[in-house]
Symmetry: C2
Subunit: 455 residues, 2 copies
């Protein structure tokens, strides 16, 4: 072991530092499978905040890049290794403490989202944010990317639930930001700044999450449409006056991919499907009536409503199968563009046009109620020409979203895959502000270099 | 006019620059009536973003401090003038544009909160944040302080509704952050950083606010208690399982001050009153039943419930009279400490002890459902000894809140009045982070110097 790594190992518990190339290989990439991922010199599986501090102090002394990593489920290459870096994994920091009186969860970053939900549920409390990766993504990663999900249309995203956190800065200093207070304006909104900072400002070692009373049992509406445009119009009509607890869209290709994968009983002939839930206690019936009416007026070919939570959960499960189902069709480039709601029909039309022009399959699944779409570009990884067309489509979808006043990423993060599009969206002046803040907190540029910003 | 000011005047519309001492006098202080407020050299009443840019470019060239000012309703001295500064008022920038399809309001900073609410209501939409100053405070100030209010217990604070903004930086550059997108994680959470930054990072010249469907008609519960402790216990019990749309507490002194001021029909003998609203459409009856039961089990001497919105609005109006009513009793020091909900009874007991020890009247009104209390220290401004005891009590309440894991300010901001307590709450390391971010964006220290941070 080289002397610098030996120095780091001496500051860490036994077995926390991995240098075996076979072991390290699994830490090079997150779920984005970034082909440009580098080779780390080591992986540290931290067991506590002090371990994270040791790594950052050492990295500062030796000017070594550190790539923080949660569960590795990220979809934008935010945790792609860079050559010679140390990958700092929080997978072993998994403690969850629920304080039911204060209604907060104090959670180490490696705990999975679903584990936090489960721990809260034991006290009849609820942690709402529910990225599709709920069973495999960590809370630290959720906070670092400001993860979204299906319930956000009514209940907001991760940042709305992060009341405080402990963060280790580039030089190894651990700071506590915010805390278990429902209102707190003492000083700058640093907690909010660190949420969504993708590991470029510090390493999150603990989060304090707001919990709310358990969700009421939802009613579910499923509507089929002969065109994606009709479905998009229905989304605009629904959200004009009710706040559904879920409002998802699947297009024809997504429906059929799910049916091929899991036989969930969806109508293969539909060009689009909306999955809508209402959880307004005592008022679900009137919300459901409004949702049904909005779908019918928008030209739905079939509308089905149920108060049975199990039946609703079945449809939700089908929706959650889209990502794994599409991965069966080939290699995917997973988009995450979001536009203002009224623009959704035009965005979907534009994606359809790009699909035709680039001669590539683009399946669309969307958190439609937020205007947050996931166009999934599917290609054959063994066909360079197919891959080039897919990459062109991926790029054009982002350009289209920007042109429509949208964002290149609604909930996955910029990471390394979308970094080159960020200046197109934000402009030079906002990039300058971003760089100033980054440089102020990480003057050596050792924290996740290459994520969000060019190194 | 001195040559530097003449240079500024040349860049501004006629009458935008005020230098008459009599006119300037009214811009030296906000509602905190800071006795240490300085004397500005001029006031600029900007008419548009370009005016704000002219001021900041000029201030950068001449190294002149700029104190941004909204409606001047701030309670922490965030808009206190400093000697030789330019006060930059946004009072004339009042345009409001509602986009009902996207459900956003695009608002200039000088528009009042109530004006935005009214404009949204014309489209059956709702802008929830409702500081007690709703009729007199501006949206720019609300965003700069991350203002709260009565509905926050269910609907969140200002930052939860700010989707984007235009900000003029220290050097005069105007940047657009965020936008009309319900989910957006492209780059750092800069919008969230600027919300609550109290004018020390930039000058907000436009905000894009999320609107939601109009609130359902609320049901109201009023409960009287023989002790403040019983009322505080009821707050803990209520919030354990329902999400009321309002949960306010008034103590004996507040009740009587309101009755002296406006004869609203409150029970003068009660030691504490809870004002609770439920707006769960279709389910208010069950929420109300739960609220009533929680109050009764906590020892309420009388509980009254009504579905009549007008009757509920009457009680809310009484609650909103507390601040003006208390100002009749003497000069006030208005506290804003917030603690975790279960700590609320102990905080109120501690405030009672401080009141006795310092021999000073402290009336308490609280957004109790958020743990956000406004102990109001009343003193005779002509009695130096009384003032000294009041200042000691003001300080001790903040120390108590910090010791209990609370914050010195839940919604008013740090400004200049609470600046010296901020390091006690945040600690040196978080102050260092704050200073780094401030220096990165305002290297000359010309933006609202002395607010939040020592100059």
């Amino acid at each position: 072991m080289d002397p610098a790594l030996a120095e780091l190992a001496a500051d860490l518990p036994a077995h926390a530092l991995l240098t075996d190339p076979d072991q390290i290989e699994g830490y090079r990439r997150d779920a984005a499978a970034d082909p440009l991922a580098g080779r780390p010199r080591a992986v540290v599986r931290a067991t506590c905040t002090a371990d994270v501090q040791s790594v950052m102090r050492w990295a500062t002394r030796h000017r070594v890049a550190v790539v923080p990593r949660g569960a590795g489920s990220g979809l934008s290459g935010g945790a792609s290794a860079v050559d010679g870096c140390v990958v700092l994994s929080t997978e072993r920091m998994r403690a969850i403490r629920i304080d039911p009186a204060t209604r907060v969860a104090v959670v180490q970053p490696g705990a999975l989202n679903a584990e936090v939900k489960q721990a809260a549920a034991e006290h009849s409390l609820w942690y709402p944010p529910d990225p599709a990766s709920v069973d495999i993504s960590s809370i630290g990663g959720n906070a670092a990317t400001n993860a979204g999900g299906l319930c956000c249309v009514k209940y907001g995203v991760t940042t709305d639930y992060v009341l405080g956190m402990q963060v280790v800065l580039a030089d190894g200093t651990a700071v506590t930001l915010g805390g278990p207070r429902l209102k707190d304006v003492a000083g700058l909104s640093l907690t909010k700044l660190f949420v969504g900072s993708e590991g470029i400002l510090g390493v999150i070692t603990e989060v304090t999450l707001r919990l709310i009373p358990a969700q009421a049992s939802p009613s579910t509406v499923v509507a089929m449409f002969d065109t994606v445009q009709d479905a998009a119009n229905a989304v605009v009509a629904i959200t004009a006056s009710v706040r559904p607890a879920m409002l998802e869209l699947m297009d024809h290709a997504s429906i059929n991919a799910v049916e091929d994968y899991g036989r969930m009983g969806l109508d293969r002939s539909a060009q689009a499907l909306l999955l809508v839930q209402s959880d307004a206690p005592g008022d679900a019936a009137s919300e459901v009536a409004h949702i049904v009416e909005a779908c019918e007026k928008s030209g739905a070919s079939e509308v089905f409503a149920t108060d049975d939570p199990a039946e609703g959960a079945g449809f939700t499960a089908a929706r959650r199968l889209v990502a794994p189902a599409l991965m069966q069709l080939g290699t995917v480039l997973l988009e995450d563009v979001t536009v203002p709601i009224p623009t959704l029909p035009a965005l979907l039309a534009g994606i359809n046009r790009i699909s035709a022009e680039c001669d590539v399959l683009i399946c669309v699944v969307a958190h439609a109620g937020d205007g947050n779409t996931h166009p999934v570009v599917v290609f054959d990884p063994d066909d360079a020409e197919s891959q080039a067309r897919a990459e062109r489509a991926f790029s054009e979808v982002m350009d289209l979203a920007i042109a429509m006043g949208g964002t290149i990423t609604g909930e996955h993060g910029v990471g390394r895959l979308k970094r080159d599009w960020l200046p197109k969206q934000l402009g030079d002046d906002v990039m300058w502000v971003t760089r100033r803040v980054k440089d102020a907190l990480d003057p050596l540029g050792i924290l996740n270099p290459g994520a969000v910003l060019r190194p």
